[in-house]
Symmetry: C2
């Protein structure tokens, strides 16, 4: 949403977050030091398994357990966000798909330059086994579309941008049915 301007200088390189600053001209002609962050793109995967949807319970060190869908960061090894999504789904669940498409693209933060992608993986099948990092504990569950909509609307669901899309779809006549059609056709 916010963009880091070209004259900005990187003043800190972090593990996840890089900090940029620049002198910004204000409306009265004075200047102030402005600051924004950059972090790697994030990907999520809405995984359709037969007539159901795959959700995960994830535990990380120093974090409470969360309910979400598979996903993670686009690493240096991932040439594109889609590559990152394919890698994350396979590592976290052992599932793969041959029918991928982009469902949503968000830029959720005003002061953090970061894109968040949600991909749709249709007709997914379990072709391998979980290969987790030492900082992950993940278990998968397959639930019905109706159960997914209820879960994704609730406070315990951690994919917040997807949650907002689903709340909006529930309020717009026909939108949820069109979404179901897109997932399971």
């Amino acid at each position: 949403m916010g963009n880091i301007p070209p004259q900005a200088k990187k003043v800190f390189t972090g593990q996840i977050f890089d900090v940029y600053q620049w002198e910004q001209t204000m409306f009265d002609g004075s200047t102030e030091t402005f600051e924004m962050l950059q972090r790697p793109n994030m990907v999520q995967i809405l995984t359709v398994v037969e007539d159901k949807i795959l959700v995960i319970q994830e535990e990380q060190p120093n974090m409470p357990q969360v309910t979400s869908i598979p996903g993670g960061r686009q690493d240096a090894e991932d040439a594109t966000p889609l590559e990152a999504a394919k890698r994350e789904l396979e590592e976290e669940t052992g599932y793969t798909s041959t029918e991928w498409s982009e469902l949503f693209l968000w830029e959720p933060h005003r002061k953090i330059a970061m894109k968040q992608y949600c991909f749709l993986a249709k007709h997914a099948t379990q072709t391998g086994v979980q290969q987790l990092d030492p900082g992950e504990r993940i278990s998968s569950t397959i639930i019905s579309f109706e159960e997914f909509i209820t879960l994704a609307s609730s406070n315990i669901f951690q994919a917040q941008e997807l949650q907002k899309e689903i709340l909006r779809m529930r309020l717009e006549p026909g939108a949820l049915e069109a979404f179901r059609e897109r997932l399971f056709s």
Copy 2:
């Protein structure tokens, strides 16, 4: 949501964001450098003026214009989040209220330690004039409850956590009426 653990060290002090890092023990006993940010608390004000609600159009340097409700950061001068809310409302709009309460408290980010408060300012009246920073251009509009619910549900509304609460209320029978009652009683 995430908490910065006590052994974390501050490795960068920014204009807005401070960066903390620590050695985190992983599930297999290995360690990795973990990172989180801390930023000042944010406050928002839902301002009730007679039977209407105050919304703002805000422009900041290097940012697209946004539609939202009054608000800002809790500065060092603000002893409490409520003090910050009173100051921000008066500076941004010239309105004051003698009937304040806390509506919502969110911790929206997993890797950013920050609380976001939404206060309710009932029976507000314009007792002064706008006193803007050189980095702000703000115009206020007073709209009906129904117009507010429509606006707050739409993509152009920037108060994202409040938006989610309102979408949820629209889906829960009776919740929106109870909210209206709380605002205008």
